[in-house]
Every structure is written in structure tokens, then in C-alpha cells.
Subunit: 385 residues, 2 copies
């Protein structure tokens, strides 16, 4: 039960969205196919993954370093009774200096998810179930709360347009909505938020995301103006590496803050917990698991968080795809996210998954479940063949 070949291909996201910090115009992602020597119904079992969204394709690193290092380790097995994600990671990390993680954490995490997908298919079990067995004493949580992210800025987009967008999300079954802030003057942002709160009827059903785009000098104004609104959370008020800036924002904003999608290692998430002013039970940590070395490292990060007084319910993985759904169902993360209007086939869940009163339920399908996303699985099969 071994890897025979690993293929990868970079594709464009074809997105024209904009948040406070940057646009997605040129964004790409890497599709990975891990072909195994296990045959089912006359065809090889193949594991798939892609490198989530917001970070560029990383096929060169895979081809030059991580795939050859995986392939030369003959002892690396995909046997569901014997596989070890720590050995996969160790093999890929050969010859890597400490620190500077993001240059490799996306490629390694994506390959790691494809290996998990292969093991799940070989075991004929969902990856969320395998993860829960290995790291959480078998306790999985397949029914997962799922909020929806939207409210991007676009040229000519009015508050009426924003409300139409929010109504579409409500019609889809979502109950908690996130919109962007910091890409317009504060007064305009406030008007947008007040209109959405009026539509939702409850400010705790609205979160905001600044994507690190608010200049430090304006942060106190945003903290003071948005604090009385009683929003669910305020996301990325400061640069991801400005832990002190995050702590200072929290001190003046007081309400819940969420951040972490732009941290890529256990050490940096630990810095956020040590130096970022984050409060267990109040604030939210949002790493992207395939972008930060994968599921084995996510398990170690959760263990570190628990040692610092946090619980899995305060974690909300960045992503909005079958990978993050499997993670949330397995680790008991507080929720997952969804971007039905964004990133084309690279956002969203299995085609027949329905959101009901804000919840989705991870299917009992082998692997990560990409086979249930018809457009995406066609792209994966194109890479594999």
C-alpha cells in the first residue's frame, strides 16, 4: 500500500474579488494526485488535494523537493493500520532549515491531505473518521456549524447589492454572515454594517473581516466605532506578524477577535497565543490546515492550544472546502466556513450537501469526499490521467 506516483498541476482561481488588503486576480492553486498501488474495481486508488485559497500554487517545491523525498522513502505506507503522518512529514522536511515555513508548509500540507485522502479511500472510511480515531479518541462531530463569508468590495457595489447578497446566503440556509471591512472609509463601512444588522435582526449573526488592511493609525477608530455594534467577531485587525498590534486592538475593542489564517506553523500560532492578547473562550484561531503542514501538525497545534487553556471549539479553520469540513468534523472545531460565491470550484462542499439552519453534516464517504464535487473531481482526474 504505497505511493506509485505523485502528479501536480497549477490552475488559476479565476476570481475577481477584492478585500481590504489585495485582489485575487492572479491567484493560482496546485492540484495534487497521489496514485497508489492499491487497485479497486480495476483502477488504482488515487488521493487528491489542492492548496486551499489565497496562497499561490507551489508545484515547483513539490517537484524539486517534497515529492522526490516522499518517493525515496520505501517504508512509507498508506496501510490504514500502519500509516504515520509524522513519518510523511519527516521525510518531506529532510534538508529544510528551521523557520520561514510558508515556502514549504503549503506544498507539504497539500501533499499530506492527498495522502490522507488515499488512506481514507483504501480504508473505505471518511478522513474525518480516521483523524478522530488517531488524534481524538474516536470522538468525531460530523454535524458542523458553517458560516458564510462574503461582502467583498466591488466597483459600483451598493448597500442594496450587499443586502441582496446577504439575502441569497440566508436563502441558502446560512445563519451567520461575514462581510469585509477596511476597504472603504469607516463611515461607509459603518453604514454597510448597520444595514446588514438591520436585515439580520441580531448583530451576533454578523462578523467582519479586515484582512489586515486597516492602517495601524486607524485601528483605534475601528475598535471604538465597531465595539458597540456587538458583532460576532472582528477578523484580522492587524498584520499577522504584529502580535502586539493584535493585543492592543483587543484591549480597546474588547469583543471577540479572530485571526490566524496567515500563520503557517505551530511556532507562529504559539506566538499568537503567547503575545497576541488572545483570550481562550472568547477569541477565535483560524489557521488553514493544508497551508500549514497538514493534519498531523494541526493535531499538534490543537494539543499546544489545549495546554494553553484553549479548546477545539475556539478554532475555525480557514478554507471552506471538503478538507476543512473533514478537519472540523474530526477535531471538533467550533465551525467551518463557506464561500459559495468565490473561488469557483475551489470553494464549497460536496454538491449534495445542504446547509440547514446554519449546519452541514460531513458525509460518510471514503476519503475527503472530493468525488462528490462533480466539477472539481473532473479537474483532479484530469491531473491524475
Amino acid at each position: 500500500m504505497r505511493v506509485v506516483e505523485i502528479r501536480e498541476k497549477a490552475v488559476k482561481l479565476k476570481s475577481r474579488l477584492r478585500n481590504a488588503a489585495f485582489s485575487f486576480d492572479e491567484m493560482t492553486t496546485s492540484l495534487v494526485a497521489v496514485v497508489t498501488d492499491v487497485v479497486r474495481n480495476g483502477r488504482p486508488v488515487i488521493g487528491y488535494a489542492f492548496n486551499s485559497t489565497g496562497r499561490y500554487a507551489c508545484g515547483a517545491q513539490m517537484r524539486d523537493r517534497f515529492v522526490p523525498r516522499l518517493m525515496r522513502e520505501e517504508a512509507l505506507t498508506l496501510d490504514p493500520a500502519a500509516f504515520d503522518p509524522d513519518l510523511w512529514l519527516k521525510a518531506m522536511m529532510f534538508g529544510e532549515k528551521p523557520g520561514g515555513d510558508m515556502e514549504r508548509s503549503v506544498a507539504i500540507g497539500t501533499l499530506e491531505h492527498a495522502l490522507w485522502d488515499a488512506v481514507g479511500k483504501i480504508a473505505d472510511r471518511p478522513v474525518w473518521d480516521l483523524i478522530a480515531q488517531r488524534y481524538r479518541g474516536g470522538q468525531a462531530h460530523p454535524k458542523v456549524f458553517c458560516y458564510v463569508g462574503g461582502g467583498w468590495y466591488a466597483p459600483g457595489k451598493t448597500i442594496a447589492d450587499l443586502l441582496d447578497e446577504v439575502r441569497r446566503y440566508l436563502d441558502m440556509g446560512y445563519t451567520l454572515i461575514k462581510v469585509k471591512v477596511g476597504g472603504a472609509p469607516l463611515a461607509e463601512d459603518l453604514a454597510r454594517l448597520e444595514a446588514v444588522i438591520a436585515l439580520l435582526g441580531d448583530p451576533s449573526r454578523l462578523a467582519v473581516d479586515a484582512n489586515c488592511g486597516i492602517p495601524p493609525a486607524l485601528r483605534p477608530d475601528y475598535a471604538a466605532a465597531l465595539r458597540p455594534l456587538g458583532l460576532r467577531w472582528f477578523e484580522e485587525p492587524a498584520h499577522p506578524g504584529d502580535f502586539l498590534g493584535n493585543a492592543e486592538f483587543i484591549a480597546s475593542y474588547v469583543n471577540a477577535v479572530a485571526t490566524g489564517e496567515n500563520l503557517f506553523s505551530l511556532e507562529d500560532v504559539r506566538n499568537l497565543v503567547r503575545h497576541g492578547g488572545m483570550r481562550p473562550g472568547v477569541d477565535i484561531i483560524q489557521t488553514d490546515v493544508p497551508q500549514s503542514y497538514g493534519i498531523g501538525t494541526a493535531a499538534r497545534i490543537l494539543e499546544m492550544l489545549e495546554a494553553h487553556g484553549w479548546s477545539a471549539s475556539s478554532v475555525l479553520p480557514h478554507g471552506g472546502n471538503q478538507m476543512s469540513l473533514n478537519q472540523s468534523a474530526a477535531f471538533g472545531y467550533g465551525m467551518c466556513e463557506s464561500y459559495p460565491d468565490a473561488f469557483g470550484v475551489f470553494s464549497g462542499y460536496a454538491d449534495d450537501l445542504k446547509v440547514e439552519n446554519g449546519f452541514i453534516t460531513a458525509g460518510d464517504w471514503p476519503g475527503l469526499g472530493f468525488e462528490r464535487q462533480s466539477e472539481l473531481i473532473a479537474m483532479f482526474r484530469d491531473v491524475a490521467e
Copy 2:
């Protein structure tokens, strides 16, 4: 005075060294050639750079993102009277999310150095002089103290071999030597250090480098055992992202600590200063300039350090090549480093630069001075043509 074409090529370092954390067996670097529309003696002026050592080649990022973004900005000039490194950086950073810097900081910093090299050749002035004019009021320091790094571990290498190595460095004119620690049991490391100190006659002529390889549980033992030796500095006692671990080591070791070669952004160096226990005037900061966005960012980092009470004399750039020599001569950094036995043509300075009583003097040659390294410039010209 514009860029006509940018070429790059990945080459192997061909090194078989080992420190406490990893080996260099597979290490590569990217050579960059920036071809300009300025013609001198019938040939185009070409700027060169490579991505320093210890981080892998990054040509894919250059080809896919940074080179096209530079090339489409028609206003970007290499005119010595009008060039602006901040605009080069802004152009290359289009469409990049905040944080996760190392995936792009090496490629961007390498391209930036090649652009500086081109401007220097167009201006017929050394890059160190251009940097000093732009950022330091014209005050350059071309005579630079230079220590030598060595003392790697190798199979079968004895203390006698180590002392032979140190004698070679002394014969070359170096007065301050750095050797590796943490790759052998502590007692063996102590015997190595005591032998070198006996040879040098003065412990302040010896520094040690742990390359983040000492397990946290062993750090207090190393701090207690090495503190009485009175070494010049102890380098990288903790993981680069473990700022608290660095602070704890400093608290028990007390003497000078050096770190920073595995931090790649202003934000992370600021975290080291904020949270790492580092003491201005005692400890040493060692970022690698071409690996962390380049000279413009180094100027901003120095400005940030000075605002925190540090001076340029406490900075020692990682690298050991014509790029770091230009940086030290320009910014007045405390010293530079040299690796005459390592990394082949990618370590060392101009062929005719002599070390005299520990000092080297940056030449008055146009650009970064790679033309004075015969083997290296032949490789660069091979990329350009």
C-alpha cells in the same frame, strides 16, 4: 534606463556540510541576471544576484509572479538619479497576502539586489556607496570587520582536524572564528570549544552557532556550561519563531546571543526585539538581506531597530558574499561573515580581497562587485547569455 529582460537559473550548491539542524546536500540557489537597455562598450549593462545560501532556489516564484509584475510596470527606472526600490517592491508585491513572507521574500530580495547591481553599474559606483547615499546620509564604512564561520561536524572529524581548520583561518588573516555546537553531546562540544579557545588564546575570539538544533530540554545545560567560557556570542539557541525560548535562554546564559538569519520580514525582526529578550548593545541581529526582501527592507528594519534603541553596529548580516559586504559597508553594520570552505563559489568575496587582521575593505568597483569573482561571474554570464 529600463529592464529589458530578467533571466534566472537554479544551480546546486554542491555542499556536504552538516550543522546541528540539517545538512546542505540538496541545497540549490537561484542566479538572476537583469538585462538593461543601457549599453556600455557595445554590450548591455546586466545586474546580477543570487539568493544567498541555506534557502532553496525560487525561480518558479520569479517566473510566475515577480518578473512579470516588474516587467509590466513601464515607469520602473534604473536611472541612478530617479530609481526607487520601494516602487520595485510595491510592483512585485501586487496580489500578495500579508504574512507567510519566506515564500516570496527570497525571490524578491534576490531580484532587488540584481536591480541595485544594475543601477550601480549604470552609475559607475559601488552599491554600498549608493545605499549609503540613499539611506545613511552618504556615510559609508568600506573597511569592515569580517569573522569566519566554520567548525562544521563531519564523520570522523577529530579535535585535531578542527584545530587544523582554525589554523587555516588564522593564516588567512581572520581573528574571530565561529564553530558549530549542538550536533554532538555537550561534553564533546565542550572539549572542542576548550581546544579552540586554547589555540586562540582568548575566548572573545570564538563564537558558537547552534543552528536552532539544541532540544529545548538541553538548552539550560548548554547555557550553564558555556556561560563561564566567555565566548563572543552564542548563535541561534532556539527555534527562530520561539521568541520566548530565545528570551529564556538569554536570561540563563547572560552573555551575548546572536540570531535572526531565519527571520524574513520586518515584522518578525520586530517580534524578536519585542518578545525575544534581545538587549541593544549586547546581542546581535543577523538577518539575510537578499532573503528578506532586499536592501530597501533592510533600511526599514534598521530604522525600526534604531527606534527600539539599537544601532547598526549590533547587526551582522547573514550571507558572506559581495552582497552582504556591500550592505555592511553601506549601513555600518558591526561586521560581516565569511565561509571560505563552504558553499563553493557562493561564499566568499572578490578574488583579490585580502583579510588583514580581521578586516576587509569593500572595493570601489561599480555594482555589487561580482565581476571580481572570476568563477561566479562566469556562471552569471552563462545565465545572461
